[in-house]
């Protein structure tokens, strides 16, 4: 989607530091592009999160993730990598799971966003939340909101017949453990509660997981 990004990169090339004598070369730092004296203008954004509408004035650089966490106080959505590599920031946008870190908040105007804080209704936990507690589908809990939101979106994708790399393209997908593992692979859990997470998700589908021995 970028228009010839190389020309842009070359034009405003700015390197944070100068490294001398590396590989016998010098990296020349160039000056920053002159930013406007008033700083980046704020953009007005209307975000709809968990059914509530919020009017915000944001630096256009603000990611959806930072908008949720630092501007709306919805810190349940976590920042694990800020680059779409871990899934901790997974939220539902118009019902579809996305990495909030790779969305600009300004680009989400008018979208309906659901975060972990919006899953429990009237104090009653979502079935996936219940199942995660029961199956100990976490340890430190940091990836958990992302795992749960991702699981909500993932199960909906299976419902809608979205295929995966491990299924038969010609058949309707099932919420088997193999499918769940493949489809949840964008959510890293370093505590490695993976087997428990899969068991929790399976239980909400009325299924149980086999054992290793």
């Amino acid at each position: 989607m970028t228009s010839s990004p190389h020309t842009i990169t070359r034009r405003v090339l700015g390197i944070a530091s100068v490294v001398t004598a590396m590989f016998g070369r010098e990296l020349q730092a160039q000056s920053m592009p002159s930013s406007s004296r008033n700083g980046p203008a704020k953009s007005d954004v209307r975000l709809t999160v968990n059914g509530q509408t919020h009017d915000l004035a944001l630096d256009p650089r603000t990611s959806l993730l930072d908008a949720l966490r630092d501007h709306l106080g919805l810190a349940g959505t976590k920042k694990g990598c800020d680059h779409g590599q871990c899934g901790a920031c997974t939220v539902l946008v118009n019902g579809v799971r996305l990495n909030a870190c790779l969305s600009l908040a300004v680009a989400r105007e008018g979208d309906s966003i659901v975060t972990i804080e919006g899953l429990a209704a009237d104090g009653k936990l979502h079935p996936l939340q219940e199942a995660f507690v029961k199956h100990d589908g976490f340890q430190c809990g940091y990836c958990t909101p992302g795992q749960i939101c991702s699981a909500v979106g993932m199960l909906d994708e299976i419902q809608r017949g979205v295929p995966s790399a491990v299924g038969d393209l010609a058949a309707a997908p099932q919420a088997s453990s193999v499918e769940i593992r493949e489809r949840m692979s964008g959510n890293i859990c370093r505590c490695s509660a993976y087997p428990n997470i899969v068991a929790a998700i399976m239980e909400t589908q009325g299924k149980t997981e086999g054992r290793a021995g």
Binding site: S17, V19, T62, K78, Q129, Q139, C140, T144
Partner: protein, 702 residues
Amino acid sequence: MAQVIGQAIDRIDGRAKVTGAAAYAADNRAERMAFGSIVTATIACGHVTSIDANAARRMPGVLLVMTHGNAPKQAPFQAKADDRHARPKPQLASDKVEYFGQPVALVVAETAETARAAASAIVVTYEKAEGAFVLESASGAAYNPGKGPTGAPSDSKLGDFDKAFADASVKIDAIYKTPYQAHAMMEPHASLASWQDGKLTVTSSLQLVESAHKSIADTLKLEPDKVEVISEYVGGGFGGKLPVFGDAILAALAARELNRPVRVALTRQQMFHVTTHRPASIQRVRLGAERDGTLSAIAHQSLAQSARADEFAEPIVFSTRSLYAAPNRMTSQRIAALDLPVADSMRAPGEAIGLLAVEQAMDELAVRLDMDPLELRLRNEPKEDPEKKVPFSTRALVPCLQEGARRFGWDKRQARPGQVRDGNWLLGMGVAAAIRGNFLREAEARVTMESERHAVVEMDMTDIGTGSYTVFAQIAAELLDLPVENIKVKLGHSSYPDTPGSGGSFGASSCGAALHDACTKLKAKLAKGEGAQGLSVTGSVKPGDDYKRYSQYAYGAHFAEVGIEQTTGEVRLRRMLGVFAAGRILNPKTAHSQLIGGMIWGLGSALHEDAVLDPRLGAFVTQDLVHYHVPVHADVPQVEAVLLDEFDAHANVLGSKGVGELGICGAGAAVANAVYNACGARVRDYPITLDKVLPALTRRQG
């Protein structure tokens, strides 16, 4: 008294975690909070010659640029101390650069976006010095680091290893290599610092609150009572949050400078250099045995990286001293100082990588003996600790191996590689032993009755995912004969009673024993008729000399089945079983989670994890979760952990041992041994990626 300890109850903090209500360090905000962004060095060794921050300072919203030129004076770094994690950690203290990624400046701005952009706009120039970065080239500079943290010497000798090895009928002499590894916990390090009336509060992501409290207070030259450190929820630690890093110190300095709260968070990329890592190692293992498999000689020697900036000796060979019987033995560990980021503890420091070598060597010996590798281990079961010559407090390696073999279907394993197929996949099974030292540390705990039927437990202990909140509630509930939901557990504040924190798998036992003491004393007071309301008792535990009189370890046995795609060499786990005995299990649900987590770490260390060093730069080039691979869901099919009943009366009053690290110990070796059994590839250079397996497949197919 209802039995609550040992029940598999759900985590009491579970609801907070699944609803997003649990507040981790960077989830906290404060009025007028400013945002800090760290600038890191892009050379590994040398000096900063100039810092041009003009462009950054001109950016609207930039509040402060801190460099070594204007950073407040802090206490000097100390190379040695009783508690390495309580030492001062001065930041921006001089122009000297000791490792790639070392913080060289901090920018604070009104918004996170501005802070980050301004940090990028700072131009640092350096004078680069020569550095040493390659462990393989540093063996000449290797040295003996002296005694380890538990007082164990770096070297040990028993009998005459050289002679016994020379005389042995069957021998293994092999070199194993393990790479640099990153903790890669999901929550990046972050701190929020604020000052009020001369008192500093730092909310951070820490394993050791007491150590961090001392480190921060000493660094800033503050009286201890002028500092409060808070760490209520920690998004994973694994050793990587034992130390205090620049985020905490710089946030504190900047907040004082600006007289407003400052949050500093590391980026995922920065974590790979700013924080610690597991050092790479080169290990030589020699085993000598009789034809019947009886070991006559064991030698384990290690060389590991240590940072020139801060010495750390990975205790690689220690457990080898207690694992198998053999009359003639020697172990030695050496470290080499390199100009790299700081190496420090990562989940099961020592055993995690030591067993990757020793337990693969045992498999190699079994192959050479034409013996079942499980049988080889049974044959070398010692009756007492083979080097310390003291009894084992408990030792259930044999039952773990036998129970695991039965459950896993070990009898279906084919001895020769390449015999079992599933379509285009070659299948194999591997076994390895798990051993992990058990420790008890000094701890205190306070329990206070809020009413006749409600109690509050307070400790500066942390819950890094281990289940601390839950097991302490269980202990207090059982001893005070109250329902678990009537126990409030408050952790992670430096104002609470001192504990050793989360590290070395000693947390639950040490803190649990102190809490046991507090509850027992409290109950005695209640029995004497003291009124419950407001009654508060502090209990404690101090390690006795049982750890000297007994050899104290937790044990286990790992069984792994892998598939090797015979065209491509892709290695995938099929299933894995661990059977463990670790004293009394305080909560089987959370213990099981820790154990399978550890096993999956073992899988990662066997197949995936590799922080690749560029020796020209002295830098890791794998700086994110795209390039530093940890296992994902799809890599982890069935993984199961089984716990055998045990009570270690010599460990502590609860009879418990740590389980947080046991799961990783030996797990990777079981996977490596399964790879060999599947296809005949003996890969001694971890991780076992397909490029290392392909040559064996090519040979097999001619």
